[in-house]
Point group: D2
């Protein structure tokens, strides 16, 4: 941490800041220039609130010089994390695709979609059994029955399963059916849930919150890792801005930014990132071109009658064409798909 | 819902949209103008996804004409909701103040603060026992022990108690100690938690999420109300914008907006809304001037050594002065405090 | 500026950074800690791009420690700037009100409004003669004729005149009619215009751009001041966020923030800040309660037939009531109005 | 326009709204449902303020059903606009690249860069002679001398020239040197400048403002087109959000959105869109993958000593590699480059 004092800070104010730093176990280096004093504070704690020093008399500015996360940082681990599940590797040179409906609705539906996405190249089947709906009057998911039929459909087509967990009370149930547990954008800072996921061995797909900074997203990954579960995949799915034509503004630049800051895999979800079908393909291609380790895409065999999010689900043939295009784009940057 | 067709929409496309609407139980009114057709759709469902129609061929625009919430709406209940707890009325002409530390730390601390805020006019003691911290390495709260000593301090000073609940597993414990349960900004869309709070009788203080629209905030209130608990207080605590000098941008205008849309009480939290002590008083005064039904303010007897959020906590004497100023402002708009 | 090196930065990388700093005329202080090196750089230039150092090999973070503005800073001038025009003082303890229509439309209109706002206590008449309209097909203002009749109406009622300048070609014309020239939000970074306003003696009312940070707003003030015109009044008028119920989100907290950073007066425009009539009064009251030096409010004698912005204009009797309320609020914080 | 009345709107209120619509030359269609009345209003004006009706008594919601722009709309012109300048076609299947330094600094600099970008495949040389700098103390550009040496370098290497115009007083000068005039993000709503550009024949590159919606961006294009100049190229260069790791958040989804709404070409500027060198290539690739008609990229022969924006300028060899990657990506979606 670097603390910049005001030009007219008094010696007593400077001493007070130094004392406060020492009181919090920081090593202190003082630099007195012609016009102002700058204090460097070195500690090994990752958790402190720099505002505590900002409010002291005579202080002009306070700057952290370490990221608040540790295990998620590239400083902690230089090489990329590659998560391997039954032979599928997430975080390497192959772009991995997770596809399926917003919500599991029926055996026929999930079997038809599993078959379609598998034949186009998806490796992982997605589908919600517990749905975080904005309205209490909307379809809330099939629950365990949904997990059961999705697991069957995945097994029948040699696919892995990813599904969203909404509450820590569901952990035991869900690990029985899923290969990857997804934390939704709205629960990215549900810390009790994150803590409970730190205690299991199942890989976690952590979606960036709609207003979460990249740093906060990595802090939520840190919560899971601090509990002992290092298998975390980050997912960009759009942030909230003033623009109204799209549901969210997909922050494609978060892909290279996170790859610089962290060793964790980062994938993109253009379905939620845009919210409307005909924008999904361009944004999926953009994410691959920017270097994403994977994609999560909503595909439905009958989007017009989907129980939820039909408007952003691709038809199977649109998905097939998109996969062909993305494969070529991956090749352009020396990746496979 | 109003569906505007493209200028060059074909009769077949129009028929398809009409059929889709009827299929979803809407009554349909068609208006054919010189240049385009406009379709009115009337239904009694509050939960549908207008994007389903937006993606149909020939559709230019789709507009909801009803709010997605019902119980929280002023259309449903015209007069203001006033929540009365042991004689304290929230939602009426008296501006109610909740004050106390970010986190309960010790008996001495909470007793000292309770005494100070009571003497300045606060009616409710706030304090966290379970803390939603961005970092897993930060102080996470005293848990039940914290609730116990806060309850005692409140009772000793004839104050009510409000404290944050983070997970549905804490409901039973917390209703034993608190008069109001607070849902934090990060949990505003933790739907399992909201559902569980709909089943109890304790009033809920629902904080607006950092990127939540006003509509989404009211939808989260609707979740609680749909379960049967109509005692919901909304709290504005700042939204996320590009501005960096303040931690959040407090949306003071949400106060009159929510008062127009909903009958629920709306209070303001300038401590989190700004994140820094010397901005708390101006924003508290602004909220009262804009018509807020109450304030929630962090006060600490020793902010320099607070376990969390010391930088945004007022000293007791600052709080006392603020109360005096706010009382005069309340009077200027025919309210008391 | 403080430059934080990576943990594994090499001595050669550190030397390269030091050389680059010296090359740009900075004095360099080096601090080598256990885990990393921190370099302090002191210079007297206000204009440099810290990203130039951020891209150097081995650099982790770069932090400015001085504001990029100088003349506008409270470090440069500690006491508040008070701008006096014909006995009206802006920036002192009296809250000054500028009121009038969005656009000047006719002699009858502007005379009626001037009379109304004067009798309620406004000191300055506002009105646009050149209108920055989003659409090329909208009413663009009466031009010089509008200035002429507004000047007459102001003189008839002992009011000052503020009006918006859109292009540097209008400077000479407008100084002949106006006491204050207003720079609109959309022109806040029209640097040629700012430079031309730096060369005149007329006070400038500078509106914060819709996406301008507080720092950028002060930088635009600096442009004017750097040319020699120190009479700059800042105006908060709402920033752009994801919230859709209001046209803009008025950042009330910018008022105390700017008062801390700068000595320049800061006023608030709740008419543009909210965009809708029934939100203007609560936000005007909030701005006064937060400590604004003044208000700019749109008032129209016949809003239903206004040539522009009728929806956000107050009726004269609403304005009169608002002034009464604001006067009481100003009194609550030891100000007059 | 569709006007939705409140559930309890009185017949008199409905009549008043109808009368107000007729007064403004709208044709009115009334639809009375069980619970509320919906009024359709059809007119041929593109410029009206829907808020005028929103503030009328009894009105619940007002919705435009036509875009406020006309000439820029795909409804007006269904086929893509292709702008041809000396054989270079912008808006067709070939991805066109504009490259060069932020600012023209010297003959040696601009000749070296022109040579480098030409050999990698750029068709247009970019470079600023008049620079819109946030600080009045920063380098403001070489002015006409810069235009002169850039024109020479472009001619020597068979490149076209694009450069930024900051004020309408520069039009005559700049058309003598440039093939395309660029309007910067900060001047996107400098309406006097836009009007003056509507009167010339030179193609205009219009950058989206940092907080401009897509609709406002197209309205600014409409300003130019309304004057008679139909050769407008839109440029996405990043919008302002809460994320701080990147200077702006590049809204890649604006590319397919604008292509649906408008027939005008849309290109992307990843240099300003990210603000930092190592993010430029991923975002350039993403823009091409999303379907952009072109790119504008800052390239400098000696970024470490650039007069401005060196931190976001590519080295010539980085640019060469990027061009190779983008060419493959363009091929993946049946485009050339």
């Amino acid at each position: 941490m670097v603390i910049v004092m005001n030009k007219n800070a008094t010696p007593a104010q400077i001493e007070h800041v130094v004392a406060a730093l020492i009181d919090k176990n920081f090593d202190v280096h003082r630099s007195t220039g012609v016009s102002r004093t700058v204090i460097g504070a070195i500690g090994d704690k990752h958790a402190f609130d720099e505002r505590e020093f900002l409010v002291l008399d005579g202080v002009s500015e306070v700057v952290r010089i370490t990221e608040p996360y540790k295990l998620a940082s590239r400083t902690f681990q230089q090489e990329d994390t590659v998560i391997e599940i039954s032979g599928v590797k997430i975080g390497g040179d192959e772009v991995i695709v997770m596809a399926g409906p917003c919500a599991v609705e029926s055996t026929e539906q999930i079997q038809a979609i599993a078959s379609a996405v598998k034949s186009s190249g998806a490796k992982i089947l997605r589908g919600g059994a517990f749905k975080p709906r904005t309205s209490p009057y909307s379809f809330q998911g099939l629950g365990e029955e949904g997990l059961k039929i999705m697991r069957k459909a995945a097994d029948d087509h040699a696919l892995l399963v990813v599904s969203e967990i909404m509450d820590q009370s569901q952990v035991e149930l869900m690990v029985g059916y899923c290969d990857i547990l997804q934390v939704g954008a709205r629960n990215m800072q549900n810390f009790d849930l994150l803590k409970s996921l730190g205690k299991i061995n199942t890989p976690i797909l952590l979606k960036r919150g709609m207003s979460a900074t990249i740093e906060e997203t990595l802090m939520s990954a840190e919560y899971i890792m601090a509990g002992g579960n290092y298998q975390v995949i980050i997912c960009e799915r759009g942030i909230r801005t003033f623009e109204k034509y799209t549901r969210n503004t997909m922050d494609i630049s978060s892909i290279p930014v996170i790859q610089k800051l962290s060793h964790l895999p980062i994938i993109a979800d253009p379905s939620h990132g845009t919210g409307i079908r005909n924008k999904v393909a361009p944004m999926a291609r953009a994410a691959v071109a920017a270097g994403a380790h994977g994609l999560q895409i909503e595909v439905h065999n009958d989007p017009d009658h989907a129980a939820s999010d039909g408007a952003q689900s691709l038809y199977p043939e649109q998905f097939a064409q998109l996969m062909t295009e993305c494969r070529l784009i991956a090749g352009a940057i020396n990746k496979s798909m």
